[in-house]
């Protein structure tokens, strides 16, 4: 495919045409350059992650507790488990509300309240995570008097609601009306049609949306700073402060110790691997859905 509409041979004599040609080639070159430059940061970050994190990720990183300053080694067992607990809590809280709201948005499309809810979900989606953090502190931590895993999980879950609601809506809208009508014609009640036919048809897409949302909150730090707070010790109690990978990475990254920096890189590598695995599963789920639709 040629990138220019004016062939060079026709241009040679005319100064104006030549100028246009030069501008064209320059701008097309700049666009290609922008594409190259935009992919560089990701490549650099991944090189550093694998280079510095890879050397610190050992088996005991997953099984040991954080080591005190000065001792090499140590792991993030408590933070890894903590992050998994927080993700489970957030999903328990955020997924049902998100999916329910998404169903509402899809079924009442066009109604004024649905339009309002859709708009507010988008607004909520753009809410800075630190604002969610201080809200959760004010609402859940301050009255109780101490930090807790539960408050952190709810703060993360609240962030999932708008993401899940919007993806659920989009997916449910792609379910053919004929399917719904067929079920209704067979005498299915409306609620049964929605829950067993529509939701089931859309399930792969909804799972994908949920996974994407989980992947996004897995790395969130700001909402946890004043809720889950972090914990140097082993704790799985929901009423107590709990360790989390992003919090541990933050603590280690801002410290002046090289050992801790190495641990932070290792933690980042594990965190990114977690996020990527979740996203990959989501992608595979989508692909299977589309190939199934194509059959």
């Amino acid at each position: 495919m040629s990138t220019t509409a004016v062939p060079w041979s026709a241009v040679r004599g005319d100064a104006r045409l030549r100028r246009r040609h030069i501008v064209n080639v320059t701008m097309v070159g700049l666009i290609a350059l922008a594409a190259v430059v935009a992919t560089l940061p990701l490549i650099f970050i991944f090189i550093h992650l694998v280079d510095r994190g890879g050397s610190a990720v050992r088996w005991h990183f997953f099984t040991h507790m954080p080591a005190p300053v000065g001792e090499t080694g140590g792991g993030m067992a408590n933070a890894i488990v903590g992050t998994l607990i927080l993700m489970a809590l957030a999903s328990t809280f955020g997924l049902p509300i998100g999916i329910g709201a998404g169903l509402y948005l899809a079924e009442r499309r066009g109604e004024r309240f649905a339009t309002l809810v859709r708009f507010l979900s988008d607004v909520l989606n753009g809410l800075p995570s630190i604002v969610m953090g201080i809200f959760a502190w004010q609402f859940l931590v301050r009255p109780v008097g101490h930090f807790s895993a539960l408050a952190g999980g709810i703060a993360l879950g609240a962030m999932m609601i708008p993401m899940v609601a919007r993806t659920t809506e989009e997916i449910v809208r792609t379910v053919p009306v004929s399917l719904r009508e067929a079920a209704l014609a067979l005498g299915y009640a409306r609620w049964r049609t929605s829950l067993t036919i529509v939701l089931r048809t859309a399930s792969a897409g909804i799972v994908t949306g949920a996974l994407v949302a989980i992947a996004r909150i897995a790395g969130e730090t700001a909402p946890l700073l004043f809720t889950a707070f972090g914990n140097q010790f082993w704790s799985t109690s929901l009423a107590q402060p709990i360790a989390a990978l992003p919090l541990q990475i933050f603590t280690y990254a801002v410290s002046p110790y090289d050992d801790w920096h190495a641990q932070a890189w290792a933690g980042s590598l594990v965190l990114i691997a977690l996020v990527l695995v979740i996203s990959l599963i989501a992608r595979i789920a989508v692909r299977r859905r589309f190939s199934a639709a194509g059959d």
Binding site: V23, L30, A38, V123, G126, L225
Partner: protein, 325 residues
């Protein structure tokens, strides 16, 4: 548009006929309505809780809370101007760098890239959005800051003699407004480029073909027909990116240096609203300090609310126009 879809009408009739399912339907309606109600309720609750918590500070300092640059927890003086200034400047740096790059990538993907290259490049750029903020911060501390301190800052200041302007003067610590702006640029790039790409893809083929048929070069076609058509959508994407940049917390907290001063130099450390809260909240020295931080949070909440609402409106308008043609 507020009428029921034919399916829904039919469904209601079915529901009435089969009396046993009427209760189930009503329960189902209540349930999804309740879940949908959660969204406005949550947003309202956030607004109320934070504004109530920030009220003492607003009440005590009035409007000067937003304009005063004295942030002095020891003497109980709180003015958020340095944090607001830092938020705006760091976001501005980010947008100045990210916008041309993002539009470039989007144009490359929508106008030039062969199909086999389109997917991988789009994937790589989108992947930037999947990297957690705290990892950007770590990368910034260990890689970006040393490069800035040793290479980039001395180069800008001494070799290019930009040090004579107030913007690039002063000692090069590394942690600075410039570092925060740079990392923010990388972080908002995927948001701007994915919205721009979508909008550019929605530009009708006929627009391009018409200009090309008139003898325009590829660039003239893009500049004269494609970009004007996509303009307000791209602006929407940029504003969406702005919303992200304004509220970004962890990476900025780790790189900006956290000092409540207004300095013209981009080499100087600063504060953003989000990093101010993240940095001081757990060590707040008293009720007024805490309330002042809540008030900063409320200000940030309102600013991002407005920015996001404008962005959504712009993007929605374009996709509606694009859908009609």
């Amino acid at each position: 548009m507020s009428t029921l879809t034919p399916t829904a009408v039919r469904a209601r009739h079915t529901a009435i006929r089969i009396s046993g399912s009427a209760i189930g339907d009503r329960l189902y309606d209540w349930a999804i309505t309740f879940f949908a109600l959660c969204v406005p309720l949550l947003l309202g609750l956030i607004a109320i809780e934070i504004s109530v918590a920030g009220w003492p500070a607003f009440h005590r300092f009035g409007l000067s809370f937003l304009t005063s640059s004295a942030w002095d927890p020891v003497h109980g003086q709180f003015g958020a101007a340095p944090a607001i200034y830092g938020t705006l400047v760091s976001s501005a740096i980010a947008l100045c760098i990210a916008t041309p790059l993002a539009i470039g990538v989007a144009l490359f993907l929508s106008e030039f890239a062969p199909p086999w290259l389109r997917q991988p490049v789009a994937f790589l750029v989108d992947l930037l959005a999947a990297i957690p903020s705290v990892v950007y911060g770590l990368w910034g501390i260990c890689v970006l800051i040393p490069i800035l301190r040793v290479v980039v800052m001395p180069f800008l200041r001494d070799t290019l003699h930009l040090g004579v302007t107030p913007f690039f003067s002063g000692p090069a610590y590394g942690t600075s407004m410039l570092a925060a702006g740079l990392i923010l640029a990388v972080m908002v790039l995927p948001y701007i480029s994915s919205v721009s790409r979508e909008v550019l893809m929605a530009v009708p083929r006929s627009q391009r073909e018409a200009t090309l048929a008139l003898g325009a070069t590829k660039w003239e076609s893009i500049w004269g027909a494609v970009l004007p058509f996509a303009k307000s959508g791209i602006i929407g994407g940029v504003i969406l990116g702005l919303g992200r940049a304004l509220g970004e917390t962890m990476a900025v907290t780790m790189l900006i240096g956290n000092r409540p001063e207004i300095s013209a130099s981009l080499f100087a450390p600063g504060y953003t609203m989000a990093s101010l809260i993240a940095n001081e909240f757990s060590e707040a020295s008293g009720d007024l300090h805490l309330s002042a931080l809540m008030a900063v949070g409320f200000t940030l909440f309102v600013i991002t609310l407005v920015v996001n609402a404008v962005a959504r409106w712009l993007v929605m308008r374009v996709s509606r126009i694009g859908g009609q043609t």
